[in-house]
């Protein structure tokens, strides 16, 4: 027998077991449903906010009370920060696809830092806005706080999700053959950022 006589090699056995099916990306599917639910909740709040504001303005009244100013610097910086965080999350996914773990962790850390920066910036913005939650200065101050607060909670959830998937990546659950966890975290993160852009336009830009 010579090594060139390939016919003697049982390269493909006659009875090959069926390949196991590709593992369904349940986490990504579930994340998409959760993202849709979160987006609907925020859309509902935004709808109520815009409707109430339009009603107040139509009656010839001011929406924001005297003395309350919404500066643009912080909201714009937050928008840019969050957009950068999306790039960081995509970087994390791209890195794990090549089993480049150091870059994955750097990217995840950066995204989390951006997320934290957004939250602290929002806290600062609320402080300098001096918008009272009680009192008759605005028809429904709770509306504004509900929108901003809900988005902070969504962002915190996105950060927790990213941390959980980062830990699982560290534990070896995810690698170049399976990026489902990080992909799911990135999906939810991106939705959270898109929702911020809607809040940014509705509250901070159009005031």
């Amino acid at each position: 027998m010579t090594t060139t006589d390939v016919s003697v090699f049982d390269v493909i056995p006659e009875r090959v077991a069926a390949a196991s099916p590709a593992r369904p990306r349940l986490l990504v599917i579930g994340t998409m449903f959760a993202s849709a639910a979160v987006a609907m909740g925020m859309a509902g709040l935004l709808g109520i906010y815009l409707e109430t504001r339009a009603d107040v303005i139509a009656e010839g009244e001011r929406w924001l009370p005297n003395g309350v100013v919404i500066p643009l610097t912080q909201p714009n910086m937050m928008a840019i920060t969050l957009l950068l965080s999306v790039f960081a999350m995509v970087w994390a996914v791209a890195s794990i696809k090549t089993d480049d773990r150091p870059n994955t962790y750097i990217a995840l850390g950066l995204a989390l830092m951006f997320g934290l920066a957004y939250i602290t910036q929002t806290a600062y913005l609320l402080t300098i806005m001096e918008m009272p939650i009680r009192g008759d200065v605005l028809e429904r101050p709770p509306l504004l706080f509900a929108l901003i607060g809900t988005h902070i909670v969504i962002m915190l959830a996105a950060m927790l999700y990213a941390v959980a998937m980062g830990v699982r990546t560290l534990g070896g659950d995810y690698n170049s053959k399976d990026v489902e966890g990080l992909y799911g975290a990135t999906t939810f993160w991106t939705v959270a950022v898109v929702l911020y852009l809607a809040v940014w336009y509705a509250i901070y830009i159009t005031k």
């Binding site: 579930g30 959760a34 639910a37 509902g44 429904r140 709770p142 706080f145 509900a146 809900t150 959980a164």
Partner: protein, 590 residues
């Protein structure tokens, strides 16, 4: 094990030749585990209990509205509204919806050939969160909270508890939808999934999209009350409208989607004739889902104002919503006509649930009369004089429709529990109790709803709009309606008795019937992991296919030569069933 994992702790298929693991013991029966069957049973039992509680609260509220001498449980109008609202909250989100969720969590993975529910730990967590928050909701009402509540802290607690309940339900619905979309077995495209699984899927999608909007409104209610924007009991009346966007037609037909799916399943099995035009039935359910979601949206857009039923979109939705219901029932009726129907609870309750839903969608058309006449008068100068009684927006007419739809959903649950009862508990549920529950619920649904529909023409006010109990001569209709609610409560009590009986191990261990979908390809109750080997399907009725190897799916080993697809040797129960006169191949009795 993480919440985001799908496989339960012990859900790996049994090794070849090994006896399938059982999933039931005292601890898992009480606390559940990561297995979808234990979780489903917990949802079903708890929801049946809360459903009964909610209906009893509504019965008491109904008798209060009848102004009977000597019957005065609520001290004033505020307490009456609180009692009524407690009933509505419990019936919808403590009872009917979780009951359907529980059935879906148990049955759907079996129907699509999955070994587990997606994120099964998440579904278990959702159950416990829902259970605790429902308890807190009841507590908040007891402590004078809820809409029209007098104690601010407990009104706040009510909004929080209801919001968390809805969140837990959304979480469970995400698990169900993800399972159907991502965990179907080999060869099972969505169109080959059973109609009931598709019904649960569309039900889940609408819930995932619609309930978060209500949660947003509850968050606002929480902040408004907490920060003094709704300072008085009367001003808190507006909190009643928070649930309107999902509890008024056509949004309320959401509850009917899984009812129709279960009805189709029951008719297929109990007539021995699978419903033809499977995909048409699925399309009709999908269209109904779109209508109900559009209804949610429409109701939401009129938030904070009297519900204005005078726009074109509403009229179109109301006029068309009967069509998908009629389509599904028509397709199922063909099986009834050409098959050999056996009068049993699943068939009777499924059909009755579908027909009640049809009645509700049909009656709702009356609300479109005023908008249509208004349109004709405005645009074509038709000069039609319509009595103001036809302006039904905000009246008790919609409570009547809601009552009928709730009864329809209870019938769907009765049909589901009776149809899959042996699969769920390994014991047959008592059929006579089921028939009695069906009769009580059908009669009750009509007697509950029709008087309120008539009242809608006699009085423009829902009780809440006048700030108290209606006292304009409609008491007798209210009394009849309360009796109807009591009948539905009787049906729910019988359902609970059935669940308790089967849980306690009463009833026959012989599987009473079999079908052609995958849940019938495993033992009853199924082992952890559901199937010995993952089934491969090539049609919507896999057990009727020549190439489907039932023995391999059940036991992991091939049947002796000559065995057909239905010649199972998997369990003693099925052997005994096979010994009885059989029409197995037709999808009917075992």
């Amino acid at each position: 094990m993480a919440m985001t994992d799908t496989r339960s702790e012990a859900d790996a298929p049994a090794a070849d030749g090994a006896a399938p693991a059982t999933d039931s013991d005292a601890i898992t029966d009480v606390f559940g585990n990561g297995d979808h069957k234990a979780i489903g049973r917990l949802w079903i039992f708890s929801a049946a209990l809360f459903l009964l509680g909610g209906l009893v609260a509504n019965v008491i509220a109904g008798f209060e509205q009848a102004n009977l001498d000597g019957f005065e449980i609520a001290k004033d109008g505020d307490q009456f509204v609180q009692l009524w609202s407690l009933g509505r909250d419990l019936i919808m989100f403590g009872g009917v919806v979780p009951l359907l969720v529980g059935l879906a969590i148990y049955v759907v993975p079996l129907q699509i050939g999955a070994s587990a529910l997606a994120f099964s730990r998440g579904a278990a967590t959702a159950f416990w969160i829902w259970l605790v928050s429902t308890g807190i909701l009841i507590l908040s009402y007891i402590m004078n909270g809820g809409p029209r509540g007098g104690r601010t802290d407990y009104v706040v607690l009510w909004s929080l508890a209801l919001g968390v309940m809805l969140g837990a339900i959304v979480w469970a619905l995400i698990c169900i939808a993800t399972t159907i979309l991502g965990a179907r077995t080999h060869g099972m495209s969505l169109e080959k999934a059973p109609v009931s699984a598709w019904g649960f899927f569309t039900f889940a999608i609408v819930g995932i999209l619609a309930l978060p909007i209500v949660m947003g409104e509850l968050l606002l209610a929480f902040l408004d009350v907490r920060y003094g924007y709704l300072p008085t009991d009367a001003s808190r009346d507006t909190l009643l409208s928070v649930l309107d966007s999902v509890s008024i037609a056509p949004a309320i037909y959401w509850l009917g989607i899984p009812v129709l799916g279960i009805a189709v399943e029951a008719i297929s099995v109990h007539t021995g004739k699978p419903v033809r035009f499977h995909r048409s039935a699925m399309a009709a359910l999908g269209i109904l889902a779109v209508y109900t979601f559009a209804g949610d949206f429409l109701s939401f857009s009129t938030r904070g104002r009297p519900i204005a039923f005078d726009n074109g979109a509403y009229v179109v939705l109301i006029l068309l919503s009967s069509i998908p219901v009629l389509s599904v029932l028509g397709l199922a009726g063909e099986s009834l006509k050409t098959g050999s129907p056996k009068v049993r609870t699943p068939l009777a309750a499924g059909m009755a649930g579908g027909l009640l839903l049809l009645a509700a969608t049909g009656a709702s058309v009356l609300t479109a009369v005023a908008p249509i006449v208004g349109f004709l008068n405005t645009n074509f100068d038709a000069g039609i004089n319509l009595d103001s009684a036809w302006n039904l927006a905000g009246s008790s007419f919609h409570e009547g429709i809601r009552g009928i739809v709730i009864a329809s959903a209870v019938l769907g649950a009765i049909a589901g529990v009776n149809h899959w009862g042996h699969k769920i508990w390994g014991r047959s549920v008592e059929d006579r109790l089921g028939m009695l529950a069906t009769l009580a619920t059908v009669a009750g649904g009509l007697v509950w709803g029709v008087p309120l529909i008539i009242t809608g023409f006699l009085s423009p006010d829902r009780f809440s709009a006048t700030g108290g109990i209606v006292e304009d001569g409609v008491e007798i209709l209210n009394l009849i309606s309360a009796i109807g609610t009591a009948l539905v409560a009787g049906g729910a009590a019988l359902l609970l008795l059935q669940v308790l009986g089967a849980s306690a191990g009463r009833g026959s261990s012989v599987e009473p019937w079999s079908g052609l979908t995958l849940e019938w390809a495993t033992t009853s109750p199924p082992p952890i992991g559901n199937f010995a080997t993952a089934p491969i399907v090539s049609s919507a009725t896999p057990l009727a296919d020549d190439d489907f190897d039932l023995a391999v799916v059940r036991t992991g080993t091939a049947a002796p030569t000559g065995s057909g697809a239905t010649d199972s040797d998997a369990s003693d129960e099925t052997k005994a069933a096979d010994a009885e006169p059989a029409e197995v191949t037709a999808g009917g009795d075992a």
